[in-house]
């Protein structure tokens, strides 16, 4: 099936883009990897498409004093080939290795993924886990939205229709940081049935400021404060790992769908959490 006819603009400047977005029933298009099929199936029927590809303001990864700033138009392949991230955000790199296949990674963008807000997608999970900030603009002005507020539910974000996601800031990655990332997908490159991203800072053999995020198991990726509390200031032992793996089953209620039942997701999530924690115990220099 072909998309319903609509107008197509490719603005040269951010301002032009924002003006276009202020119109009725307008949709931005980034990589198009999620949007093009929706348009073709007429599940989305905008009057105008605004192609973001010329907006240099939305491009590139910057390492700044308060973290890394990832332009919304940054493609997965750019993250994977950016050697700086080995030091500045190894967790992000690890997660993106699990995102889709080559073709999709060559087109799909960080911004598109976050705005699409698939509950099983890796990038939103990293954003939530790392307490990212979303920089958003419209003709009405600029605002910063915290990750936990950005993702509202399945395929739903806090963006207004006239707003554009400009960039995502992930707070500074500290050298003493330990991390783990685990997901289970039926085939390589498929969306995850369940997954877990976590990190903590090592201080005297103990776990400081743990961030534990899970995805594919709720309407959005979520952090799990009960587990973070259980890990805070503790030494991560086998016993702790087993105990939090039990906790996760009590504090999450994954959905049942075509690919997995709630019970299976829940069981698998506990295993993934356990494995992510174990992986985080290894020296970070061994991860790459």
């Amino acid at each position: 099936m072909k998309p319903a006819p609509f107008e197509y603009s490719r603005p040269e400047s951010l301002n032009e883009a924002l003006s276009l977005l202020a119109g009725d029933e307008v949709r931005p298009i980034a990589g198009g990897q999620s949007l093009v099929p929706l348009l073709a199936l007429r599940l989305v029927t905008p009057k105008r498409l605004v192609d973001l590809s010329r907006l240099i303001e939305l491009r590139g990864i910057k390492v700044e004093s308060d973290g890394i700033r990832i332009g919304a138009l940054t493609r997965w392949c750019e993250i994977l080939s950016d050697a700086r991230l080995g030091e500045h955000h190894p967790l992000l790199r690890e997660a993106v290795r699990h995102t889709a296949h080559y073709q999709i990674r060559n087109r799909g963008t960080v911004g598109g993924s976050c705005c699409h807000a698939d509950p099983a997608a890796e990038m939103p999970a990293i954003a939530v886990t790392c307490a990212a900030e979303f920089e958003v603009m419209s003709l009405r002005g600029r605002r910063i939205i915290a990750a936990r507020e950005f993702f509202r539910s399945v395929f739903t974000t806090a963006l207004e229709p006239d707003e554009l996601l400009i960039s995502i800031r992930l707070p500074t990655w500290r050298p003493e940081r330990r991390y783990g990332f685990q997901e289970l997908a039926r085939r390589q490159g498929d969306f995850a049935l369940a997954g877990c991203a976590l990190y903590w800072d090592e201080a005297g053999g103990c776990c400081r400021d743990p961030h534990v995020g899970v995805f594919g198991v709720a309407e959005t990726a979520i952090r799990v404060p009960q587990i973070e509390a259980a890990l805070e200031d503790r030494k991560i032992t086998d016993e702790i790992i087993r105990s939090v793996a039990r906790t996760i089953r009590d504090v999450t209620a994954p959905p049942t769908d075509l690919h997995a039942t709630s019970a299976y997701r829940s069981a698998v999530l506990a295993v993934l959490l356990e494995r992510a924690l174990r992986a985080s115990l290894h020296d970070p220099s061994h991860h790459d």
Partner: protein, 919 residues
């Protein structure tokens, strides 16, 4: 800068191109429809199959996921742009050498993905090559030969073994160059420019009555509709692949029997039809309670899906020999199980496509259909009957075939494009969308199987008592074929004195189950081969050895009372696998026994399974005719009716024919499948083409040779050769010469012709299934080595070893290709595939193996020649798939001690079974 169409500039394959197009259209469509670059294929339109992979700005992307506007001013490279100086490039040549293209529909996407990789990394590892093509699905090859080709994209040329004997050598497939160049024309790749399209309105209900509303008013409201077809427009609105039960309407009459059944067909311009809201189509539905499971259908007294099928049973199959019940009672060990398999989708990457047009020739007004098909002659018969035309008024021109596996035996788009074109006297084309293809075409039968097998204290099999119900869906299709084939094979490839095997094919309100590689046999071995393992364990005999002792050998009698006289190579297959088996068992013992792994969730296992398979149609005549000629221009010509579906008949038949004539293969030209030119060589199904049509090709070659010897006046011993148009016969003492250019020729330029015919000798089965159902059987055995993650329930395959008795490998590369591909489908069947109408009608919810899911495969070809086969050959297309799933299930048991009888063995099922198991 705002329009719905505007001029866009691209650089396509190095040439600047300007086009006035809607920038929101998919780039894939612009390439194919506007630029005629049909080398880029469409398998799903959703990013799932990668058939549309091209390079944009040097990187592989899915052309179907890009709006044309997004590619503006960029460099685009398609498969048509790979050739260098008009010659195939190194990668394309490597694909040919390695047999990496079978049906070839995925080949352009594979080549483009690999090109991207090789530019970044000229010598990739196996893992890197696998990952690079991870987003491109192939249903034919199992990926192994593709990965090998990518890693061997060297300057090596493609050498065809010259003059030497063609049979037995690794001839590069003759249809290969067009496939790797993107030139082969599949169903969707050719269409008359003025062709109209269809929009087929389908039932949203599995079972319902319906009333059509005011169609003239509907048509008046939408000028885009050129015509509306209903059941009444089809002169004889019934079809079925089997001759005696035409039960399926092309457009439903008053009631629908499965979700997705066609009820109405709109004809017009594609995009304009697509814009008509479904809700405006005037149909009132009266849904009924559907009968979804065979159990329900069997007991739904008086609630019949078809009037002609009491108890909703389409057909019963039966083979009884000896007293199985008594023999089981007397057995030292008895194992029993009940299990289930699910609906399996063929998932060929090419959705059904083609066009129909009306034309005139000396015979008057005729109808031509260009479409993908496995059976051109049956299409002709069926369409002629449905349109009430004489057979010779219909001309079938098969397109290149982007995969079939049984799914393109039943007609699909053909009747509706035919009726529309005939009625409107205008060409009409149609291409199924992925979901239309999945909901409306046939599937593998889901099965419920119960079996008890016994053996004596020495481990010799005594009896099997087997019963299976096959869910045949809403219409007959190949249901009776499955019900009849399975009982013959129920005993497995073993000598079993007492057999009782009963089957039923049961109608339900589900997708039509039809032919799929193996016709029910792959389902039944899922249970029987696991029972063989249990008996081996009970008898304390090694699992391979147990099978070896029981293997059917030449001289022994099958369950139908047929004495095998030759070519029963199972024992040899098992012997060849012994070293790998011993090694694999030792490896897994060491892995599992490693004290460092005491707490590891990983456990390794090794499994084995065997198969046999009757070649050709069960009992019924299934002849092939082939015609070959020598032309005045000094070339041989094969009128090849054995439809190429990726399996290699376009190569095998000329090989056999050339050797039979005694002239080099390089001299052979051919036409494939065209019903005006070729003779009927039957269906490309039941693994029959090499054996049956191969014999016909051999006989045609021999007949032509006799004809030529007569023409030139030479004796049988003479060696033939051609020098330009001069035929030479070397008799040692003297050399005879004949200039063909001087001879009278027919309208094709043929100066001499030879015809060959073969119909395998069979004896009808009696009421107890006793007789000779097949003239020849293929045998095989496979070993699976794998690792189970006990916590996640996942399975990682480590290696598969396959030994197949193929009689004679006419072309070892092609045979191996069939084995790799069959195993990949077996892996999908065992571990991931499960079709649920309305839920998995796409290639992201219906999972088939990707490049990362197929482990290394070692192949052993056993050539226990069949005296009946051409040069000893049998068949291999279906056999390769059959043992894979039970070998995997047996390996899972070996690893973690659970027996899964319901497949696919998904991580969730494995985990649940582990949770239940006592250890």
């Amino acid at each position: 800068m705002d329009d719905t169409t505007r001029t866009l500039a691209f650089i396509v394959n190095g040439r600047p191109v300007e086009l006035s197009v809607d920038p929101a259209r998919r780039l894939s469509e612009v390439l194919r429809e506007d630029l005629g670059l049909t080398g880029t294929k469409i398998g799903c339109h959703a990013g799932d199959c990668g058939a549309c992979t091209i390079l944009v700005a040097g990187r592989q992307v899915c052309a179907c996921l890009m709006a044309a506007g997004q590619a503006a001013n960029q460099e685009v490279v398609t498969v048509e742009g790979l050739a260098e100086d008009g010659q195939l490039n190194a990668l394309q040549r490597a694909f040919l050498r390695h047999g990496a293209a079978q049906c070839g529909i995925c080949t352009p996407g594979m080549l483009m993905a690999a090109t991207d990789l090789l530019r970044r990394n000229p010598s990739p590892t196996e893992a890197e090559a696998q990952a690079a093509i991870g987003g491109v699905l192939c249903r034919c090859t199992g990926y192994r030969q593709i990965v090998a080709a990518i890693r061997d994209a060297t300057s090596a040329p493609v050498d065809q073994p010259a003059d030497a004997q063609a049979v037995g050598s690794r001839i590069v497939r003759l249809d290969g160059p067009d496939k790797v160049a993107g030139k082969a024309k599949y169903g969707a790749d050719l269409w008359p420019t003025d062709a109209l399209s269809l929009r087929i309105v389908r039932s949203p209900y599995a079972r319902a009555r319906f009333v059509l509303g005011d169609l003239p008013a509907f048509r008046a409201r939408y000028p885009a509709i050129v015509a509306i077809l209903t059941a009444q427009d089809i002169p004889d609105n019934r079809f079925s692949i089997v001759p005696d039960l035409k039960d399926q309407p092309a457009l439903a009459v008053e009631q629908v029997r499965f979700r997705g059944e066609a009820v109405l067909c709109l004809v017009g311009e594609h995009d304009a039809l697509a814009a008509i809201p479904e809700a405006d189509v005037p149909i009132t539905w009266f849904p009924h309670q559907p009968l979804t499971e065979p159990e329900q259908a069997l007991t739904a007294t008086g609630d019949l899906i078809h009037e002609f099928a009491p108890e909703n049973v389409l057909c019963r199959g039966r083979v009884v020999r000896g007293d199985a019940a008594a023999a089981l009672r007397a057995s030292a060990h008895v194992a029993q199980a009940e299990g289930r398999t699910q609906y399996i989708e063929h998932a060929y990457i090419e959705p059904e496509a083609g066009y129909a047009e009306v034309f005139s020739d000396a015979n008057g007004e005729r109808l031509r259909i260009f479409a993908c098909t496995q059976t051109p002659y049956m299409d002709r018969e069926e369409i002629a009957r449905m349109l009430k035309l004489p057979d010779d008024r219909v001309h079938i021109v098969p397109s290149a075939m982007g995969g079939g596996f049984g799914g393109k035996l039943d007609i699909a788009i053909q009747p509706l494009i035919a009726v529309a074109a005939w009625k409107l006297k205008r060409p009409v084309r149609h291409t199924y969308s992925r979901s239309e293809s999945m909901i409306s075409t046939t599937k593998r039968h889901p099965a419920r199987i119960r079996a008890r097998i016994g053996c004596d204290a020495h481990g010799l099999l005594t009896a099997i008592d087997f019963a299976a119900d096959f869910n045949t869906g809403a219409y007959a299709s190949f249901g009776s074929t499955v019900a009849n084939r399975v009982p013959v094979h129920a005993s497995g490839p073993y000598a079993v004195p007492a057999v009782r095997a009963l089957t039923r094919a049961v109608f339900t309100n589900n997708a039509v189950a039809g032919a799929f590689r193996g016709f029910g046999v792959p389902q039944s071995v899922v249970i029987t081969e696991t029972l063989i393992d249990e008996l081996a364990e009970a008898a304390g005999i090694d699992r391979l050895e147990f099978r070896y002792r029981n293997a059917l050998r030449a001289g022994q009698v099958t369950a139908t009372g047929q004495r095998l006289t030759a070519s029963a190579g199972l024992a040899e297959c098992l012997q060849r696998l012994r070293p790998a088996w011993t090694q694999a068992l030792a490896d897994r013992r060491q892995f599992n026994g490693d004290p460092g792994r005491a707490t590891s969730p990983l456990r390794r296992g090794v499994g084995i399974a065997c198969m046999w398979y009757g070649i050709g149609v069960t009992v019924f005549a299934n002849p092939s005719t082939m015609v070959g000629a020598l032309r005045r221009n000094g070339r041989l010509f094969l009128y090849n009716g054995a439809q190429e579906i990726g399996q290699g008949t376009a190569t095998i038949m000329p090989q056999i024919f050339a050797d039979a004539v005694g002239l080099p293969l390089a001299l052979v030209d051919q036409v494939m499948g065209d019903t005006d030119l070729t003779a009927d060589a039957g269906k490309s199904s039941a693994s029959r083409q090499t054996f049956i049509s191969g014999n016909a090709a051999k006989f045609a070659g021999e007949a032509l040779r006799r004809e030529l010897l007569k023409l030139i006046g030479a004796s049988q011993r003479a060696r033939l050769a051609l020098q330009g148009t001069v035929l030479l016969a070397d008799e040692g003492a003297r050399e005879l010469r004949l200039d063909l250019a001087q001879l009278p020729a027919d309208e094709h330029g043929d100066v001499a012709r030879g015809e060959g015919y073969f119909n395998p000798p069979t004896v009808p089965l009696d009421a107890n299934g006793q007789g000779v159902p097949y003239a020849s059987y293929a045998f095989g055995a496979q070993i699976a080595e794998l690792e189970v993650d006990r916590e996640l329930g996942t399975v990682r395959l480590i290696r598969i070893h396959a030994a197949h008795d193929v009689g004679r490998a006419i072309n070892p590369t092609l045979v191996e290709g069939q084995i790799y591909g069959g195993i990949a489908q077996g892996i999908g069947f065992a571990l991931m595939e499960e079709y649920v109408s309305g839920r998995t009608d796409n290639l992201h919810d219906y999972l088939i193996p990707t490049s990362g899911d197929v482990p290394p495969i070692s192949i052993h070809l056993i050539e226990d020649g069949d005296p009946l086969g051409p040069y000893g050959a049998k068949g291999v297309g279906e056999p390769s798939l059959i043992p894979t799933a039970p070998a995997i299930l047996n390996a899972i048991y070996d690893a973690v001690g659970i027996r899964l009888t319901s497949i696919p063995a998904t991580p969730a099922r494995i985990r649940a079974a582990l949770a239940r198991s006592p250890v």
